[in-house]
Symmetry: C2
Subunit: 97 residues, 2 copies
Amino acid sequence: MGAFVTQTYHAKIYITLRPSVLDPAGTAVQSGLSHMGYRNIDHVRIGKYVELEIQAADEAEATRQIDRVCAQLLANPVIENYRFDLKPQAVSLGGTP
Amino acid sequence: MGAFVTQTYHAKIYITLRPSVLDPAGTAVQSGLSHMGYRNIDHVRIGKYVELEIQAADEAEATRQIDRVCAQLLANPVIENYRFDLKPQAVSLGGTP
């Protein structure tokens, strides 16, 4: 319709602490699990999982923007790593309840 | 060697708020992105991403235990959904730095 045609992409973003960074929350969960009897579980690391939708001209542009958003806002690059998957959203004409 | 041989599995667990549950953190991030100029991003939802290692006799046993751990400790089933992937860990004889 307009001058720009955009596509909606669904992004799944995984943010994890760098391996060298201590994870007190993960340690607490592991200790809780051990108290519950799960002594066979270790290396618990807790990160963030972000889903969002982005409108962009193409996948390269969406990738570029998500990468910037991760580095600037979602993750702390000093202590965290991030990675993400992008998937074009199917165009839906009806609403979902 | 012993009476029981176990295999180590690496689990990736994704915990998300149920779609009907409000996500104030996601809304805050979306608002921040909008202020930064990213008005093409919406439906931001923030969840948890947990990695852990579990020792179990087989994949079915590991799956059963991770499912219980999610329902009992990691997720709040009233407001959160969870899903996970399991992968057998390659046996490593050397250490990684």
